[in-house]
Amino acid sequence: MRIVAPVSSTSEVEMLLHHGADELYLGLATPEWETRFGHHLWMNRRSSSQANFSSWQDIEEVVTLAHRKGAVVHMALNAPFYTDDALAFLLGLCRKAVEKTGIDSIIVSDINLLVRLAGEALPVRIHLSSLGSCFNARSADFYRSLGVRRIILPRQLGLSDIRRIVAASGSNMEFEVFALNDGCYFEEGFCRTSHSLGPFCLAQGEPSIHGSPPDGISPAFLAEGMKDLREYLWTQNNCGSSFQADGLPNGPCSLCRFGHFRDWGIHAVKIVGREASFVRKLGSIQLVKAVMDEARKGAGHEEIARLSRSLRKTPELCHKGFMCYFRE
């Protein structure tokens, strides 16, 4: 299994590769895009200046450094949909990215961009973003028919669902799963909100019961539900973007399951957070690498789970399960 790490600055590349990243992924947000398409339509799922590169030269440098160390680089163009003009713009941008920077793959979500890229047959691999909502093996087959070589599986799949998809697909498809950081209360592929207006889940306000309350549902009951929801959202938001005392990051993860992923043939695990600070990225890669080393040595599932929980140092959060990806 390989570790896929986020990068948003050339200064992070050496650190990430040195600490165990096998693959890097990045985003691009050029001034031209913002001028043409404004601040609501993003080129990829995360669009703060902190999350993206704005210069082709920097991307070229990232790719050169990565290739020198045997690592590959993916470029995320994974907004859920693009407008007519944006799609035309992006096709040109993809050609340029492949020719000028030598990126190894493009991460796509929009079915229209996927269809267009399949027709272009550029010398680059196409990966399906988790926003592509591949929830079953037949869906994986469908995406393979469009030229997708790797699928990033959604966070709201259960473990047994992942096992079935991977087993059914055999060697015809690579699969990548989320390893660490940032959950989502909704399923990204089903969500029509925009992070350009901030996370929707944190802006829902207080609920009230519409119509007659059903038996057993009182305002007090609802308030209890809101308390749970707030706690859940806090964990999904990296426990308020906090760190453990030893500097490792808090937040959702699937570290306990690396043994399962290894045995099922998962190709790569992904660290989320292109917009994260250098320090958070460092802590994240160290944490994932420590567990990955055990998985690579052939440690058993229980052994890997024990190590993961001991590294996280948040037994109460691990026990509750709110921080776990792929719950079932």
Binding site: F37, G38, N112, G198, P214, F221
Partner: protein, 293 residues
């Protein structure tokens, strides 16, 4: 114009006797009062069952038979809505698809998952296929305040607010290739939804558009132990059948509701008037959602 109603259970259909004027009054008046002035067609044209957001809302064998009996009694065809499904859920749905295709071979199924679509094409070629609104991606965030946007001068923003997956030729070619005959959408909150998309037939849902959804259901977690909270459930007792919440975010430009795992915006009165007027002159299908009805 064709009028369909999405029922949560066949019993509700029997009780309501499915008279459009009464249904419309029951569903729309609580939101729009008497201001809508819409005279629906004298009879319904179609009944929807199942759900596009939640696997637990698909009918079981007895319920399917009751829907078929209702359909026979009313003389209107059935449409089965399907959500995104995992492989285990697809296995559990096989008896439903078998029975539906057996009972009504030419019936319509709305798919929101490419895998479900592939399965239906391969195993049940007689069923007629529609692409559901979960596949139609576009901008539906209810927090955008257009008073702060120079939309008139901004063609890029206009394209973003009016374009969706279904409006692109790439999707339309793919959909034709995959045997899809109908495209189903919401009325976009800020843009002029295109009513026609030949060669496809079109459906528009009303009076709610969907904003976001997930396989984790907060409503289903009420009163449950931590192990069953915020986790995709294998089974559900269905509290959403009776509970609908209104959400009161400070930045909302629309009334926003939650039913089960999905959040919806309510069309404004001008949107409704425009929709009903435009639909009255075309071949479009309007799908009335009662949510908790």
């Amino acid at each position: 114009m064709e009028l369909a109603i999405h029922l949560r259970s066949p019993e509700i259909g029997v009780e309501a006797n499915l008279r459009p004027a009464q249904l419309v009054a029951k569903i729309l008046e609580p939101f729009y009062g008497k201001d809508l002035h819409w005279m629906p067609p004298p009879s319904l044209h179609r009944i929807y069952m199942g759900d596009e957001f939640c696997p637990h809302r698909l009918p079981g064998p007895a319920e399917l038979e009751a829907y078929c009996a209702l359909s026979d009694m009313m003389g209107v065809p059935l449409t089965l809505l399907t959500p995104v499904l995992t492989d285990d859920e697809l296995d559990r749905c096989t008896p439903l698809f078998d029975a539906f295709a057996d009972r009504m071979p030419q019936a319509e199924v709305v798919v929101n998952d490419w895998g479900v679509l592939s399965l239906l094409r391969a195993m049940y070629p007689s069923l007629r296929l529609a692409a559901g609104r979960v596949l139609d991606k576009g901008f539906k965030d209810p927090r955008l305040d257009l008073r702060n946007e120079a939309i008139a001068a901004d063609d890029a923003l206009k394209q973003m607010l009016e374009g969706t997956t279904f409006t692109r030729p790439e999707f339309q070619s793919l959909a034709q290739h995959m045997g899809i005959e109908r495209l189903e959408s919401d009325l976009l909150p800020y843009g002029g939804t295109k009513m026609e998309a030949p060669p496809f037939q079109r459906s528009i849902y009303f009076p709610f558009g969907y904003i976001t959804s997930g396989r984790i259901c907060w409503i289903a977690s009420f009163g449950q132990p931590a192990s069953r909270k915020f986790v995709p459930l294998k089974s559900c007792r269905g509290p959403c059948r009776e509970l609908m919440l209104e959400l009161h975010g400070n930045s909302f430009q629309f009334r926003v509701f939650q039913n089960g795992n999905t959040i919806f915006y309510l069309y404004t009165l001008p949107m409704m008037r425009d929709l009903l007027e435009r639909a009255s002159n075309g071949s479009i299908r309007l799908v009335l959602q009662g949510l908790s009805l």
